[in-house]
Symmetry: C2
Subunit: 317 residues, 2 copies
Amino acid sequence: VTRSERATARIAVDLLGGDFAPDVVVDGALRAIGADPDLHLHLVGPRRAADGVLAALPAGDRDRVSVTLALGAAGMADGAVRAVRPDTTVRTAISAVACGRADGVVSAGSSAGVVTAAVVLLGRAHGQRKPALAVDLPGRDRPVMLLDVGACVDGGSALLVSHALLGARYARANRVAEPRVGLLSIGTERGKGDRLRRVTDTALRSTRWPVGTRYVGLVEPGDVALGGPADVVATDGFTGNILLKGIEGAYALAGRRPRDAAPPAALLLGVGGTVVVCHGAADAEDLAAGIALAARTHRMAVVARLDAGPTDVEDPE
Amino acid sequence: VTRSERATARIAVDLLGGDFAPDVVVDGALRAIGADPDLHLHLVGPRRAADGVLAALPAGDRDRVSVTLALGAAGMADGAVRAVRPDTTVRTAISAVACGRADGVVSAGSSAGVVTAAVVLLGRAHGQRKPALAVDLPGRDRPVMLLDVGACVDGGSALLVSHALLGARYARANRVAEPRVGLLSIGTERGKGDRLRRVTDTALRSTRWPVGTRYVGLVEPGDVALGGPADVVATDGFTGNILLKGIEGAYALAGRRPRDAAPPAALLLGVGGTVVVCHGAADAEDLAAGIALAARTHRMAVVARLDAGPTDVEDPE
């Protein structure tokens, strides 16, 4: 653990995001503070929930928590527009990042709402027209990053290519020295998949990749669940969300999560700040893991390093 | 168990289909014969593999096996056209159904090849323009049928609607008295999902459903893995295949399949005969389960009863 990895991280937390807010968020915030002595939290929500966190903390830890009151919840059925209204917790929490009061933000609210508010308040970054939600899934040997898992559901081939490049750069910023990038499809032979996959596979074969990065072609869902041929797997937000939720459902039915399974917290790539989205049904442990992910991402300066970006590219094969 | 469920079933088996053919197919055929005294197998493949089955059987069971020699394998990378050449095992096996020598057929070959050969040789049926591959997945309380899991990867909204209707009729023919039909998406609220889902959801709401059948709206992948709101879940073949393989991969990583997990054998609906497709990596147990599924489907006259079809429809709500 290097010095920078222990640096203070100030993470804004949306107390009203998710199906079981604010209770599980309060509990998750407490767990996160307990686990990381250099973590500061900026709680955004109603007074009572914020007081719930403060009251449960030892007196010496209370100065690690600041509070901004906000009362508007943006529910799953509200649509993305609701999230950007001035009074919502999600907007207020993301604003804390935009104005430099926080280093990152975590919400278990509607991902459409978080994505929209993040784009509006933090702006697009890293040359991305549209952001992508990325998750690290456990594999047998090493994790696999899957993106997009739901930020953009109606993208075409150009968006998939830009997300694949974003994923590759993220993987490098996140210490994968030579990321292997794959495209999710239903078979590994060329030509397998629907029209979008066939067009995108061809485009990715002629893409100029950053030095050290390699496109390995089509990969199957089992290669995402188990790991193997690729470190980064790109797909459209609809398919990625389907796959992610299917894997989660299977673990639930099997009654067993694999060892070290990363909880379902997603990092929003392509916006000008560190934004973590937990899923709506997240429990306290998931929230704490989401806060830890935001802190780690800030400490590794991942978002800033994404922009070190694509000057060093290799010619396609 | 009624009399008809014990009736003889004559199932053609493609000895050269799948990654581990013919060995696992030979083993699977032996298991199937051992488990079902009223099963007859029509083996299609090279002499040596067929002899492997015959040699391992007790003398008294050998008259339950017939053989047609064929030597052409249609591999995963060969494309669908290869499968319909006259010398392939998959074509020869499906032909046995077409000419009445067999009551159903099982192949672990390329599903694109099996689907193409089945459409060519058995014809379209049940008013379907394009067939669908359907799997029964285990749920917490009762199984969930997911279709299409890979027969048609580039369909639009009209195809999804016709597949949803086909699934509903299949469920009724398969003893679900009042099937609840859902559309796979990434959220359950109206409007969730990509463009294809939004258009199809609207179309399904104004569809005339068979009596007793009900459209329950959008369902999520967890509802497929765990079961719950729907007995039949419709999706496009690309997404369905992704979800199916993701769930399988998750079970593999978790090191545990749920109790009674149906092995991954899919029934091809919408063609004029009983066709079961096992996945390419199927083992002997999977093949035996596929053969049992074909026999059960024949005995329940599911394919014939699908045509009892859609005269009895209800008005949409």
